[in-house]
């Protein structure tokens, strides 16, 4: 029923495109046009202005679809004109109360972005297999670039603009709009978005970007866990690797601090992808060559610093489980949960969906449990050490300096006598081989750059189940680089340290190929 109004609005937008295309047009002409449509009431009232922007979006997209075959540059003229219109309107927009102009501009921009999302959603739904992401990609890409050029010099407002785009891209994530997937990854890794968000002061843009990256991994899971990769998945996986390599090179601290969130959603079959995340280390850190003969990891200064973990790593633990674990770590009195891990950690059968990575276990819960128990174990060791140091300083005279100078690292025997290790021991013996594999993988995920977690988890090895521990480490080493530093030093220790008598174990000779593999890995290591 509003076809007449639509016609009029379409005419106004066509007029704008003409103004935009005139080589002599400048900001004065643009401003005059905005005033004229304001006087016509086009921007007054939410309903008509929403309809106007909806018409602009649809016309831009349709003109692209119509002309794309003949001439791409001409095909984008409608979209580019629309970008200019939005940027000009935001520039002219001011707070009706005259108080907070930048806030008002951002709110206005957010409204316009949401109208574009609605048109995209409708096109995605209606056109399905013929849905073309390109005009929408161009629209958002143009807005990102223009907003950077116009507002980067006002950091406060610019960050709000980036947040508005981040929220929009979260809405447009591939799980909701799979037809926009490749355009979406182009946008979240765009030069006017990803680095700007990650470089915002004090890392205040990191949480938003981490959310977007988790959306990408969650979407990838069903395609990666399955069997043969299709071309679509292979292209998406390669694009993901390229984006991650930029992050590893330019923003390694971001990957370090959020490694836990990403490992929760990266399928455990994607070993290289996960290694890429776990290989990140802070740029101000100099990693000693893991192959240094007689490397004394315990003596590294960083080995006692806890790593920054910005992910909320306890969110997957139920309140009751957390309190049970806390009680046990404090009292070490036997508790029921120690005897039925299989049940606690298994996924409820009708919760097993494509996004659980095909496992019958709740992988995020296992990852949270391991890190939570480990962090508490480390804290307990430090607490007991400072007690001992308190005692040993009073008795250093009679028992010599050995204790007083005891290397501040805890020996394996000390670690083995803790409540945390009881829990790990139970997990190793109670779980079936799949559960144990996931549990050991969660531990291996902590073998990163030198920090107290790397140190703790690299020594928390058990005599039993060595074969599985070896397998978990080995499968992460035989894939193409990069390999996390903590993984390398742990495997080197396992192979070299006579205490583990590694080569005496039958499984190292179980098969000629395996034997060759061990020899080649040990040679390279």
């Amino acid at each position: 029923d509003n076809s007449v109004l639509r016609e009029q609005l379409a005419f106004i937008f066509a007029e704008w495109i003409r103004v935009y295309q005139l080589p002599t047009s400048n900001d004065k002409d643009y401003g005059a046009f905005i005033n004229s449509i304001q006087q016509q009431g086009v921007l007054k009232g939410e309903e008509i202005s929403s309809l106007f922007f909806r018409v602009c979006t649809e016309m831009s997209v349709e003109s692209y679809i119509k002309y794309k075959v003949t001439n791409t540059t001409a095909a984008y003229q409608g979209v580019d004109a629309f970008v200019k219109l939005i940027v000009t309107l935001v520039k002219h927009y001011s707070d009706p109360q005259g108080v907070n102009h930048s806030g008002a501009k951002v709110t206005y921009l957010t409204t316009l972005l949401s109208i574009i999302v609605l048109v995209l959603a409708q096109a995605h739904e209606q056109r399905r297999g013929q849905f073309n992401q390109k005009p929408f990609l161009r629209l958002f890409s143009g807005l990102l670039t223009e907003m950077m050029t116009s507002y980067e010099s006002s950091p406060g407002m610019y960050f709000q603009i980036l947040t508005a785009f981040s929220n929009t891209f979260h809405t447009l994530q591939p799980l909701v709009f799979p037809g926009f997937t490749y355009g979406w990854l182009s946008l979240i890794s765009h030069r006017a978005f990803m680095p700007k968000l990650l470089l915002a002061e004090n890392g205040k843009g990191w949480a938003s970007f981490q959310k977007l990256l988790v959306c990408l991994f969650r979407f990838l899971i069903p395609f990666l866990v399955g069997g043969e990769m299709r071309d679509t998945t292979r292209a998406l996986y390669k694009g993901t690797l390229r984006v991650l390599l930029v992050l590893l090179h330019d923003f390694p601290e971001f990957l370090c601090d959020y490694h836990f969130s990403f490992c929760d959603v990266i399928p455990h079959t994607c070993i290289q992808l996960r290694n890429l995340i776990l290989s990140a280390f802070p740029r101000n850190m100099r990693l000693p060559d893991p192959f240094t003969p007689n490397l004394k990891v315990d003596l590294l200064a960083e080995i006692h610093q806890p790593p920054r973990v910005l992910s909320d790593y306890t969110s997957s633990l139920s309140v009751s489980m957390k309190s049970d674990v806390d009680t046990y770590l404090r009292t070490r009195e036997h508790a029921a949960f120690l005897d039925n891990w299989q049940e606690i950690l298994a996924l409820d059968p009708n919760n097993q969906d494509l996004f659980s990575g095909g496992s019958k276990y709740n992988v995020p819960m296992i990852n949270s449990l391991v890190l939570y128990v480990g962090v508490n174990g480390i804290a307990q060791l430090h607490a007991s050490k400072s007690e001992d140091n308190g005692n040993s300083s009073s008795s250093s005279k009679d028992i010599g300096d050995a204790n007083a100078n005891r290397s501040s690292s805890s020996s394996s025997s000390q670690i083995a006598q803790t409540a945390s290790m009881d829990i790990f021991q139970k997990l190793l013996t109670e779980l079936d081989s799949e559960g144990r594999y996931l549990f050991l993988s969660a531990i291996a995920n902590q073998l990163r750059y030198p920090n107290s977690h790397t140190h703790y988890f690299s020594r928390a090895t058990q005599e039993k189940i060595k074969e599985q521990i070896t397998r978990v480490l080995l499968e992460r080493l035989i894939v193409n680089r990069p390999h996390p530093w903590g993984l390398l030093i742990t495997f080197i220790e396992l192979i070299k340290n006579p205490r583990y008598a590694f080569w005496d174990h039958a499984f190292t000779r179980i098969d000629p190929d395996i034997e060759k593999l061990f020899d080649s890995v040990s040679r390279s290591v």
């Binding site: 050029t149 030069r191 690797l241 390229r242 390599l245 930029v246 290289q272 992808l273 290694n275």
Partner: protein, 47 residues
């Protein structure tokens, strides 16, 4: 076994940040000169 990540068109040993010339996840641009340099025009140049 994953893949050789040095073949993905990114100069991983670059001393410069990669994001300034990262054009897209889907294609590499032959040289960084083809990636339009980032520029910023002060608001007062808008005469």
């Amino acid at each position: 076994l994953g893949r050789d990540l040095t073949t993905l068109g990114l100069s991983l040993n670059s001393a410069e940040p990669l994001y300034g010339t990262f054009a897209s996840p889907w294609f590499e641009v032959p040289t960084s000169a083809d990636v339009e340099a980032e520029f910023h025009v002060p608001a007062c140049y808008n005469v």
